[in-house]
C-alpha cells in the first residue's frame, strides 16, 4: 500500500513537472531570438520570386551587416493572408510581410498593421514624393501610410506569332502601332485558331476572356468602371461598365462554353501545374491577357517563343489604350519587435536599391519614380509595359476589396455558367459586400 501510494506520488510529481516545464521551454525558445533579427514573410514562392527575394535580402545584409533578415516563404499563394492574420493574432507574426497593395486599407482597417507615419516622419518626411502617386495612395488608410510600395505592374495582350501564322492570321495586325485591337478583332482571330480534337475537346484556343488577367475588373476598366460612389459610401458593382464587362464574357460563351474551357485548362495547365506548364508557352493558346511578370516566366521557361505584346483589347474602334496596375508592398504587422531594424529593411527593399534588384529579377515595374527613367531596367518588351503606365488606372483602395474581388470573380463564373444574368449576378455582389463596407462609412479616399 505504502509502495503503491509513493509510486503514485512520484509519478504525479514527474508528471506535474513535465506539465509545467513544457510551456516554460516554449517561452524560453521564443526568447532565444536574435535581437537584431528581422523576420520577413513572403507569399511569393515561385522560382523567380524566391530568387528575387533572396537577392534583395542578400544585398540588404551586405549593406547592413549588423542586421540579420530571416526570410520565410509562406505557401498558399499571393493574396492569401490567412496565415498572417492567424499568426499575428497568436502573437507569432513576422516583423515585416509582403502584401498586395489593394488589401492594405482593409488590413489597416481591421487593425492588423502598424501605422508607419511616426517612423516616416522621424526618418524622412519627404519619402512619399519618391513614389508613383497611385502606389502611395494605395498604402493609405484614413490618411496614414500603413505600407511601403515595392513593385507595380500593368496588363497587356500577349500573342503567339507562330500560332497566328499557322491559323492564317498575319500577326502584324496586332502590332501596337495600330493601337489597341477591338474585342471584335480578337474574336475573329480566336475563331480561326480554335481547334477541336477527335474527342470533341479543344486542343488549341485563340483567347479565353476569363483566363489569367481576364478579371471582371479588367474588362470593366475598358468601359470606364468607377467601382464606388464616395458620396453614397457605396460600391457600385451594378454600374453599366461592370455589366458590359460580364456581358462580354457571357457573349464569348457562344464560342466556347465554361465546361469546354475548364476541360482545356485542366488538360494543358491544371491548377497545380508548375509555372513552366503553360498553355501559352506550349503553343495551345494564341492570345492571353497577362501582366508584365509573365515576360520573366517566358524568358525562364519558353525562351524560344515568338510572341508579341500589344494593348489590352477595347470594345470600340479607335478607343484610347487602357490598362490597370496593382502591385505589392511591405507592411509591418502589429506585434513586430525590433521596429527600427525592420523599418530599415523595409526602407531598403522598397527603396531604389531593393526595387532595382526586384525589377531586374522579376520583370516587374518599380514604384520608385527615379527608377522609371532608367532604361536599362526595361529590356525589350518590358519597355512596352513601362510605357503602359501612363494609361494605367488602379483600383480605388476600398477597405472591402478582398471580399469584393472574390464576389466579382464569382459573379463572372455565374454568368459564364449561365446561372445568372450579369445584372442579377452583380446585384448579388452588392448585397454581399455592401453590408461589410457599411461599417467603414463615411469613406475617406483620395480618388
Amino acid at each position: 500500500m505504502r509502495v503503491r501510494s509513493s509510486t503514485a506520488r512520484s509519478l504525479l510529481v514527474v508528471f506535474l513537472l513535465l506539465f509545467i516545464a513544457a510551456p516554460l521551454t516554449a517561452c524560453r525558445l521564443g526568447r532565444l531570438r536574435n535581437p537584431r533579427e528581422v523576420v520577413y514573410w513572403t507569399t511569393d514562392t515561385s522560382d523567380i520570386g524566391v530568387r528575387a527575394e533572396k537577392a534583395v535580402v542578400r544585398a540588404f545584409e551586405q549593406a547592413n551587416p549588423d542586421i540579420h533578415v530571416r526570410l520565410v516563404f509562406i505557401p498558399g499563394g499571393t493574396g492569401n493572408d490567412t496565415m498572417l492574420l492567424t499568426a499575428v493574432r497568436g502573437g507569432t507574426g513576422p516583423d515585416v510581410s509582403r502584401m498586395d497593395r489593394f488589401e492594405i486599407s482593409q488590413m489597416a482597417a481591421i487593425g492588423l498593421l502598424e501605422d508607419l507615419k511616426p517612423l516616416i516622419e522621424k526618418h524622412e518626411p519627404h519619402l512619399p514624393d519618391h513614389y508613383l502617386p497611385f502606389a502611395w495612395q494605395e498604402t493609405l488608410y484614413k490618411g496614414d501610410p500603413y505600407a511601403l510600395p515595392t513593385n507595380t505592374d500593368a496588363r497587356a495582350l500577349l500573342y503567339n506569332k507562330d500560332m497566328l501564322r499557322a491559323a492564317g492570321v498575319d500577326p502584324t495586325v496586332l502590332d501596337p502601332v495600330h493601337g489597341p485591337p477591338t474585342f471584335e478583332t480578337i474574336k475573329r482571330i480566336a475563331l480561326k485558331v480554335n481547334h477541336l480534337n477527335t474527342r470533341g475537346s479543344f486542343d488549341r484556343v485563340g483567347f479565353i476572356p476569363w483566363y489569367d488577367q481576364g478579371f471582371p475588373t479588367t474588362w470593366a476598366m475598358a468601359y470606364g468602371a468607377r467601382f464606388y460612389n464616395l458620396a453614397a459610401c457605396a460600391i457600385t458593382p451594378t454600374e453599366p461598365a461592370m455589366q458590359h464587362s460580364l456581358q462580354f464574357t457571357y457573349d464569348w460563351t457562344s464560342i466556347m462554353n465554361w465546361n469546354q474551357v475548364s476541360a482545356f485548362l485542366e488538360t494543358f495547365q491544371p491548377d497545380n501545374a508548375p509555372p513552366s506548364q503553360n498553355a501559352f508557352f506550349s503553343g495551345q493558346m494564341a492570345m492571353v491577357a497577362a501582366g508584365n511578370w509573365f515576360l520573366q516566366n517566358i524568358q525562364e521557361y519558353a525562351p524560344g517563343l515568338h510572341y508579341g505584346v500589344t494593348y489590352l483589347p477595347v470594345p470600340y474602334a479607335s478607343q484610347a489604350p487602357y490598362t490597370w496596375s496593382g502591385g505589392f508592398s511591405l507592411v509591418m504587422p502589429k506585434g513586430a519587435h525590433n521596429i527600427e531594424d525592420t523599418y530599415r529593411f523595409m526602407r531598403f527593399a522598397a527603396g531604389p536599391e531593393g526595387q532595382r534588384i526586384f525589377t531586374r529579377e522579376t520583370s516587374n515595374l518599380p514604384t520608385w519614380n527615379e527608377l522609371l527613367s532608367d532604361r536599362s531596367l526595361f529590356p525589350s518588351n518590358n519597355a512596352f509595359f513601362a510605357h503602359l503606365l501612363k494609361f494605367s488606372r488602379s483600383r480605388p483602395p476600398l477597405p472591402v476589396w478582398s471580399a469584393l474581388w472574390d464576389e466579382l470573380g464569382t459573379a463572372q463564373e455565374r454568368v459564364i455558367l449561365h446561372e445568372a444574368s450579369p445584372e442579377r449576378a452583380l446585384q448579388a455582389v452588392y448585397q454581399q459586400v455592401q453590408p461589410q463596407l457599411q461599417q467603414y462609412c463615411p469613406l475617406t479616399l483620395t480618388p
Binding site: 499575428v88 487593425g111 492588423l112 476541360a263 491548377d271 464569382t410 454581399q432
Partner: protein, 302 residues
C-alpha cells in the same frame, strides 16, 4: 451541495478523489482550455464585431440578423445538405459492403482488410490530390473509363453539381474507419442465429435482411450520426480541389465560416455562423435519434 458531499467522504476517499482528478487532469485541462473555453468564448464574440486585433464592438443580435439575409449562408447550407444527403447513406452502404468483404472466412483475409483500410489512414488532402489526378479530363483514369463508356470528356470540377458529387465520391475512399466498426458489429452477431435461419430454409439474402441488418442497426445509427457531424463540417476537400467554386458550387457551410474568420477577419460573424451550425447539428442529431429509435434493435441475444 458539492462541498457537503465532498466533506461526507472519509479521508481516504477524499485523497483518492483528489489523486483521481489529478491523474485525469491533462484531459480535464485540455477539455476546459481547448473545448469549453473556446466554445463559450465564441458564443460571446458571436455578438460582437471582432477582427482579432482591435477591441470587440458589441453588436447584439446583428450578426445573427445579417446571417438570415446573407445569400451565401443559404447557398452554403444548400451545398452542405446536398453533400450530406448523398454522402451519409452512400457512406453507410459502402462501409457495410467493405465490412462484409473484410468478414469473409479466407486464409488471406488480413491482406484484404489491410488493403481496404489503407486509404482511410491517408490524410484527406492527399486523397484530394490523388482524386484530382484521377479525374483529370485528359489523363485521369476515371475520366478515361467514363469517356470510354460514352460520357463526354469534361472537367468534373467545373460544374456545380458534379463537383459536389466528386467530393461525395472522394469521401468513400475513407470508408475504412466506418467499415471497421461495422466489422466489429458483424463479428458480434451470434452464429447460432444464422444456423437457425438456415435450418428454416432462409436464403443468404433473407439472412442479410432479417438478421444482419437489424443486428447492425445500432452501429448504423452511430455511423449516421457521426457521418452527419462530419458532413456538416465538410471543408478540406473543397478547399484543396475547388476553392469553393465554381460559382460557390462547393462553398460548404464550414468553408464559408472559414473564409469569414480567416480570410475576411470577421471573427464575430464567423462565431455566429459556428453557433448556428452547432444548433443545426444538435437538432438534426436529436431528430435522427428520435426517428431511428423505431428502427434500431438494441436487444441482446445471449
Amino acid at each position: 451541495m458539492r462541498a457537503s458531499n465532498f466533506h461526507r467522504l472519509n479521508r481516504r476517499e477524499r485523497s483518492h478523489l483528489i489523486k483521481g482528478l489529478l491523474f485525469i487532469s491533462p484531459w480535464l485541462v485540455g477539455l476546459l482550455v481547448f473545448t469549453i473555453y473556446p466554445f463559450l468564448y465564441s458564443i460571446v464574440i458571436s455578438f460582437t464585431r471582432y477582427s482579432g486585433f482591435l477591441p470587440p464592438i458589441w453588436l447584439g443580435w446583428q450578426n445573427y440578423q445579417r446571417m438570415f439575409h446573407d445569400a451565401l449562408v443559404w447557398q452554403s447550407l444548400y451545398n452542405t445538405f446536398f453533400y450530406a444527403v448523398f454522402a451519409i447513406p452512400l457512406g453507410v452502404i459502402v462501409a457495410i459492403i467493405l465490412a462484409l468483404a473484410m468478414n469473409r472466412q479466407l486464409y488471406e483475409v488480413a491482406v484484404y482488410r489491410t488493403a481496404l483500410y489503407l486509404p482511410s489512414i491517408l490524410p484527406l488532402f492527399a486523397l484530394s490530390l490523388v482524386t484530382l489526378v484521377l479525374i483529370s479530363p485528359q489523363y485521369g483514369l476515371v475520366s478515361y473509363v467514363l469517356t470510354a463508356l460514352g460520357f463526354p470528356q469534361m472537367d468534373y470540377l467545373s460544374d456545380q453539381n458534379t463537383a459536389k458529387l466528386v467530393i461525395v465520391a472522394l469521401a468513400q475512399l475513407g470508408a475504412g474507419n466506418a467499415a471497421l466498426i461495422f466489422l466489429a458489429g458483424l463479428r458480434a452477431i451470434p452464429q447460432t442465429l444464422y444456423d437457425a435461419a438456415r435450418i428454416d430454409g432462409a436464403s443468404r439474402l433473407r439472412c442479410f435482411w432479417s438478421i444482419t441488418l437489424p443486428m447492425l442497426s445500432p452501429v448504423i445509427l452511430y455511423n449516421i450520426i457521426t457521418g452527419l457531424s462530419a458532413a456538416l463540417q465538410v471543408f478540406q476537400q473543397a478547399f484543396i480541389m475547388t476553392g469553393g467554386g465554381p460559382a460557390h458550387g462547393t462553398l460548404f457551410f464550414f468553408y464559408y465560416l472559414y473564409n469569414s474568420a480567416f480570410a475576411y477577419a470577421q471573427l464575430g460573424y464567423a462565431s455566429a455562423l459556428a453557433v448556428f451550425l452547432f444548433v443545426i447539428g444538435v437538432v438534426m442529431a436529436l431528430v435522427l435519434y428520435a426517428i431511428a429509435q423505431r428502427f434500431v434493435n438494441y436487444e441482446q441475444v445471449s
